[in-house]
């Protein structure tokens, strides 16, 4: 006669879990790409090597911007693929909040890049990118998985380091951030958060 009571207990616990998941699903964006993130990091790492070999600052900038377009495309495709694979919705409040939190600092970064290029302030481009990418990942990560927030903070730290170290080291910090950090994050997410 004890079995039904255990079943009631299990059912109640399962219901609480269901409620928690429903709440989480409605407030958290979880289609963060792991493998895609690592691929983005690989592109970042390659960009840092290619950019370092460029003879002019304009070509250095072009190398990084080309890599950004490729990495962004990989990121978007990977998000879509993960959402489809896990049956996650790519609409709704968490997705909108995540996208807004992520894109606002990115747009500010694009505008500042234009301003810095226009005035020839090359030295400030690496810290600006690292700080604003980190800000975007951190604010977007407020509506997503916890490792995103850690990644955002790490990028911001790297941005501050880039500000206080010689300008010539800027490319190294970019490679470390958009390459190294991104790969580590991607592998972690792939292992712990469903690929």
């Amino acid at each position: 006669m004890r079995e039904p009571v255990t079943a009631v207990n299990d059912h109640a616990a399962e219901n609480l879990q269901f409620i928690r998941h429903a709440m989480e699903r409605s407030t958290t964006f979880s289609a963060v790409p792991g493998v895609g993130g690592a691929l983005m990091g690989t592109v970042g790492l390659a960009a840092s090597v290619i950019a370092a070999l460029q003879p002019t600052a304009e070509k250095w900038l072009a190398a990084w911007l080309s890599a950004a377009v490729i990495a962004l495309t990989i990121g978007l495709v990977a998000i879509r693929a993960k959402a489809t694979r896990l049956g996650l919705a790519l609409a709704g409040p968490p997705v909108r909040r995540f996208a807004l939190g992520l894109s606002a600092p990115f747009l500010a970064g694009a505008a500042l890049t234009f301003g810095l290029w226009r005035h020839g302030v090359w030295a400030l481009i690496p810290p600006t990118w690292l700080l604003l990418y980190g800000t975007g990942v951190l604010t977007g990560g407020a509506f997503s998985v916890a490792p995103m927030r850690v990644l955002g903070l790490a990028f911001m730290t790297l941005g501050v380091v880039a500000l206080v170290t010689p300008a010539d080291w800027g490319n190294v910090w970019l490679g470390l951030g958009f390459g190294g950090l991104q790969i580590v994050f991607g592998v972690y997410v792939a292992r712990r958060h469903g690929g």
Partner: protein, 121 residues
């Protein structure tokens, strides 16, 4: 708070704890016990408002099924539905009413009490 208050008003426990668990189970709010309706209420408890398509994504159900379940919650006064137009596109927004939030809290208390009642066996 509610869970503790409720636990003190439960009928005295039998050695097996089974009648108490059964009694608790029978007092469940059947309206939100259904999985789809429970998902709707839970999602709305975590958000101020949610659109029809957002809820469809969360519950993973069809348009027709969601409409039926949302209507039942609306009829019970647990959910408020607001229809409007964004340009020419109709929009349906849902939000949890105070009664709906209380019902979810009560349901959570019931689940909590059920687990505690069966664990004390």
């Amino acid at each position: 708070m509610g869970a503790r208050a409720r636990a003190t008003t439960l009928p005295s426990r039998t050695p097996a704890g089974e009648p108490q668990a059964k009694a608790l189970a029978q007092r469940l709010d059947r309206l939100i016990h259904d999985r789809t309706r429970l998902a709707i209420v839970s999602a709305l408890a975590a958000n101020d408002t949610m659109g029809f398509n957002d809820l469809k994504g969360i519950t993973g159900t069809t348009d027709g099924n969601l409409s039926v379940h949302a209507r039942r919650l609306e009829d019970a006064g647990y959910v408020h539905c607001e229809k409007s137009f964004a340009g020419r596109v109709p929009r349906t927004e849902y939000r949890l009413t105070a009664a709906g939030r209380r019902a979810l809290e009560k349901y959570l208390d019931h689940m909590d009490a059920l687990i505690r009642a069966t664990r004390r066996r």
